[in-house]
Symmetry: C2
Subunit: 154 residues, 2 copies
C-alpha cells in the first residue's frame, strides 16, 4: 500500500475501491458489532420484511468507505476525523460495492482534506453517499500489508 | 430483542449499549472491510506512529453505534437513513465503549427519529460523537436473536 500525501493531492483527485459482500462478511459484521438482527442473518425472517430478503448491515458499507480512505486515498498514515453517510439502497450478499472518493477541499492547517464519498453497486445504483474529513499524511509511505490470520466460520 | 416504536419514543428517550474491542474484532474488521493498515494489526509498526501503539479501526466504533440503534433504540425494524460521526480519540484493544443514544427530534412524516450518539470509553472519555437519522418501527416486535455460527481466528 502506498499513500498519497497532502501535497500530492489536489481538488478533484480521486480513487476507487471495491469489495464484494459475502455471506461470511455479514456473519462477521454481526459478531464484531453485536447487531444480530434477523433481517441480516435469517432469510425466512427477512423475506417477510419490506426488504424481501436478507440485506447487509448499513455500516458494513461504511466500513468499506473507511477502508477506501485508509488504503487508497489518501491511504496509510491518514487520520480519520469525520464521516457522514446517507444510506440510499440496501446492499445484498454477492453485491459488489465500489467506493469513489474525490477530494473536494484542502485545508492547509493540519493538512485536512475533505472527500466526497459515493458508493455504487454492480448495477451502478448509488447505495450510499457521504463526505469524509481526514488529516492527510505528509510523509510518503509504502508499506507491506500485514497478512491476516486464518478465519474460519462454521 | 424488543423494539421501541415511533409512538413510544419521546424527545429525551435514551438507551445505552456497550462493547469491548477484542484482538479478534480488529482482525475481523480488517477482513470484512479490507483495511489491513499495520496501525491496527502490527504493534511494532504502530508503536512508531503518533498513536504509540495499535488502535481499533474508527469505523468499528461506527459499527457499534449502528448496533446500538439496531438492537436497543429503536431496535428491530428500524431503517437506517443517515449517520454522522466525529472520531475524537483512539479506541484500543480491551477498551469498552459505551454508546448513549438520545432522541432529539421526532418527525411524523415517515416516522423519522433523530438520535444524538455519544460514545465513551471505560474512563468516560468521549471517543466519538455524532447524529443518526432513522425511520423508527411502527409495529411492536420482540424477536429471538439468531445464533451466530462458530468463528475461529487462528
Amino acid at each position: 500500500m502506498e499513500n498519497i500525501t497532502y501535497d500530492e493531492l489536489s481538488v478533484g483527485s480521486s480513487g476507487i475501491y471495491s469489495k464484494i459482500l459475502t455471506e461470511e462478511d455479514v456473519i462477521l459484521f454481526a459478531k464484531i458489532s453485536g447487531d444480530v438482527n434477523p433481517v441480516h442473518l435469517d432469510e425466512a425472517f427477512a423475506k417477510g420484511t419490506l426488504f424481501e430478503g436478507r440485506i447487509g448491515h448499513g455500516m458494513w458499507t461504511g466500513s468499506v468507505v473507511s477502508a477506501a480512505i485508509a488504503t487508497v486515498l489518501p491511504g496509510p498514515g491518514t487520520i480519520y476525523m469525520e464521516q457522514n453517510l446517507k444510506f440510499r439502497k440496501p446492499v445484498r450478499i454477492a453485491d459488489e460495492v465500489t467506493v469513489t472518493l474525490t477530494v473536494t477541499e484542502k485545508i492547509a492547517k493540519r493538512h485536512v482534506v475533505v472527500l466526497d464519498c459515493q458508493v455504487t453497486n454492480q448495477d451502478s445504483v448509488v447505495v450510499a453517499i457521504g463526505q469524509a474529513k481526514v488529516m492527510a499524511p505528509v510523509e510518503k509511505m509504502k508499506i507491506e500489508a500485514p497478512k491476516l490470520p486464518l478465519i474460519v466460520v462454521s
